[in-house]
């Protein structure tokens, strides 16, 4: 049944994509331009993973995205403040969950400039800062790792949050202040689409995973705050970061007996520097993770303080071929206290964690064919995650992307190793207008 629906949609999309001409929608005769796309995604698993909801696939959906920009002129102060309303709405027909229809706004924000030296953006929006490539040290804004592993477009790695960003522009530096009143956590594998290591069942589980998550109440006291102070000195971008909120993934045990996990309090202090070096771009970023409820490290139910250090380098080798490498180093602080407090059934984490990444990108045919590979490899856990893809702009409005998420690892308890069963290949077709 589902297979037939999918086949029809795939064929329709192909026809629409190949034979359509580009045209633009407008809201009303001379209204604002509405952009968007219709996309169909399909992801097939390599191994039959009987643990998850569907054995053979983990992605089957059609999506309609519409975006527009409005410039309200009434009341008059909005016009003086150069107001801009950004709206991005999505309708998804998700066959994975028995053809449910999901409606969401990825963006619904108002940007204003109340003074020449200040911009304010409020509403539902994506926040991003930091220098890493798929690695985030000082970007504690919510991420959707499920989308990342199943082959959705890169855009979906970042989750929108409700919040306000005030940006103040000074002579030699700028300050961003972000206030997020409604805590939004990362979307992490929970067994339905992707199997993972369940600490309670002490093994790889999928849909049979049954622990629950205690979320912070959405009260004023549980708001998140983030700030960045940054500048540019002759092309060298420096920044200092601050975050106050919670761990974004449920890394704490709230009630071990009853299998409840939670998001402990977290503050992060960091800095970064990025600029041209050795005819490429180099970057360094540092973050100190202050696990506020367990600063001594003696509480085994809450993660210890950590320091994270990221170094990156990217170079263009000519002929549309570029390469990027990164190395992430993490150290758990108060390690001896953690080690002494362990129970026999606890996973033993290493004091030090090393992760390297490689990105290769090559473009062909007047840059209409993009090929790439991103590799994560942890020297500590000896696990690896490969993300190859080929993306072809058949026309300016029709794109076909094929890629894979390939994961290998010896240990079931490691970051990537636990996802070995989740290897998949995906196909995305997008018609843009």
């Amino acid at each position: 049944m589902v297979k037939k629906q999918l086949f029809v949609i795939v064929v329709l999309s192909l026809c629409v994509g190949l034979f359509s001409k580009a045209y633009a929608f407008r809201l009303g005769k001379n209204g604002p331009r509405v952009y968007g796309f219709i996309e169909t995604d399909f992801g097939v698993k390599f191994d039959h993973d009987e643990d998850t909801k569907h054995t053979h696939y983990n992605l089957a959906e059609q999506k309609l995205q519409l975006k527009t920009r409005l410039f309200p002129e009434n009341p008059a102060f909005l016009y003086d403040w150069n107001a801009e309303l950004n709206i991005k709405a999505e309708l998804t027909l998700d066959e994975y969950f028995d053809t449910t229809l999901d409606k969401t706004f990825r963006e619904f924000s108002l940007s204003v400039s109340p003074a020449s030296f200040m911009d304010v953006k409020l509403g539902k929006q994506i926040f991003t800062w930091g220098t890493g490539d798929y690695l985030f040290i000082n970007d504690l804004f919510p991420k959707d790792y499920v989308s990342f592993f199943i082959g959705r477009n890169d855009e979906y790695l970042k989750k929108p949050s409700y919040g306000t960003k005030a940006s103040i522009y000074l002579k030699n530096s700028n300050i961003d202040l972000v206030y997020l009143p409604f805590v939004e956590s990362n979307t992490v594998p929970n067994g339905t689409r992707l199997s993972f290591y369940d600490v309670f069942q002490q093994g790889i589980v999928g849909a049979s995973s049954s622990f629950s998550v205690h979320r912070p109440d959405r009260t004023l006291g549980n708001a998140e705050y983030a700030a960045r102070w940054y500048g540019n000195v002759s092309g060298y971008e420096w920044a200092f970061y601050f975050y106050d909120g919670f761990y974004k993934s449920p890394r704490g045990f709230y009630d071990e007996m009853n299998k409840v996990v939670f998001y402990p309090r977290l503050s992060v202090y960091g800095a970064s520097l990025r600029g041209a070096i050795f005819r490429g771009i180099g970057s360094v970023e540092f973050g100190y993770y202050d696990s506020r409820k367990d600063r001594s490290g003696t509480n085994r139910l809450i993660p210890n303080d950590r320091v994270k250090f990221l170094v990156g380098y990217e170079k263009d080798l000519g002929h549309d071929f570029s390469i990027g490498v990164q190395h992430l180093f993490e150290q758990m602080l108060n390690y001896n206290n953690y080690y002494d407090a362990r129970m026999p059934w606890d996973i033993i984490y290493d004091r030090y964690y090393h992760l390297s990444t490689l990105r290769l990108t090559k473009l062909f045919k007047n840059q209409t064919v993009r090929t790439g590979l991103f590799v994560f490899y942890s020297e500590t856990d000896r696990d690896t995650y490969w993300r190859p893809y080929v993306s072809w702009d058949v026309t300016d409005n029709f794109n076909v992307t094929v890629g894979a998420n390939l994961i290998w690892g010896k240990r079931d308890t490691s970051e990537f190793g636990q996802m070995e069963q989740d290897k998949n290949v995906y196909l995305r077709m997008r018609w843009s207008f």
């Binding site: 952009y35 970042k158 263009d316 007047n366």
Partner: protein, 261 residues
């Protein structure tokens, strides 16, 4: 007794004359560079690129460009706001041009709110998939090549330019036809490493805008791949008073409507 002195003088004069000609070629190219890339203190334009490949398939790239000179013939800033195709709509490409060394480049991707720093020491790669390379859009410094006048007629200087650093470029030399009337290049022929004509850029239309002769229509033909790109400039304006801070992260995230519309 006089003859050798006279002959000597003639040789010296000839020597001076030939040295003067070599200087003229560089002077012409310097003047052309200023005329083509540095007119006014700043400027803006709406650009439409039509790329046609060897099989007749067409692609379009539409963007707005803002430019500011920090010094004539030297440092410049560019701000490029993409409008089409849809999948690049809202993306902004910003360049701090440093003649003689690598430019600083950024790309803003609105869907991710990501300010990406672009590592691109290759100025000869295609600009947005067209037959124009990055340096065609931002300008190639005359100091990068040695120039000599190959030929001259009443309308044109025909100048051959050879790169000082051949490793960094895809051509062995190029020949420019510089108009004597306005010092704009009317045609540029690129010869590849085998010294075969591989790419031609032709000026299709020149308009005088605010006293500056401006190329408003270019055609680039890639003879090796058979593809062709037309680049059209409309609504060109100079000296609009662009502030320096347009070329900062603030305006990557929030395109300055006042200057783009």
């Amino acid at each position: 007794m006089r003859k050798p002195v006279l002959l000597g003088a003639l040789f010296v004069a000839g020597g001076i004359a030939s040295v003067a000609c070599a200087m003229d070629a560089t002077e012409v190219m310097k003047k052309s560079n200023i005329q083509n890339y540095y007119s006014g203190n700043d400027g803006r334009a709406k650009v439409e690129m039509s790329i046609t490949d060897s099989q007749g398939r067409q692609r379009k790239r539409i963007f707005d460009i803002l430019r500011k000179n920090l010094e004539k013939g030297g440092e410049q800033r560019f701000y490029v706001y993409f409008k089409e195709p849809t999948d690049v709509e809202g993306m902004v490409y910003m360049v701090w041009k440093h003649p003689g060394k690598d430019d600083d480049r950024w790309l803003y991707m609105p869907a991710l709110d990501l300010v990406k720093r672009i590592a691109a020491s290759d100025k000869r790669s295609s600009f947005v998939g067209s037959d124009f390379v990055y340096e065609d859009v931002s300008g190639r410094s005359p100091d990068e090549d040695t120039h000599e006048i190959q030929d001259e007629d009443e309308d044109f200087y025909i100048i051959k330019s050879t790169p000082k650093d051949p490793k960094n470029v895809e051509f062995s030399y190029f020949v420019s036809y510089i108009s004597k009337e306005n010092f704009l290049p009317m045609k540029i022929e690129y010869y590849n490493k085998e010294e075969v004509l591989s790419r031609i850029i032709e000026t299709m239309d020149v308009k005088e805008i605010q006293g500056h002769p401006t190329i408003v229509d270019y055609r680039a033909k890639n003879l090796e791949t058979g593809s062709e790109t037309l680049m059209d400039f409309t609504e060109v304006k100079y000296d609009i008073g662009l502030p320096d801070d347009i070329f900062t992260e603030r305006y990557l995230r929030r395109p300055p409507r006042k200057w783009l519309d």
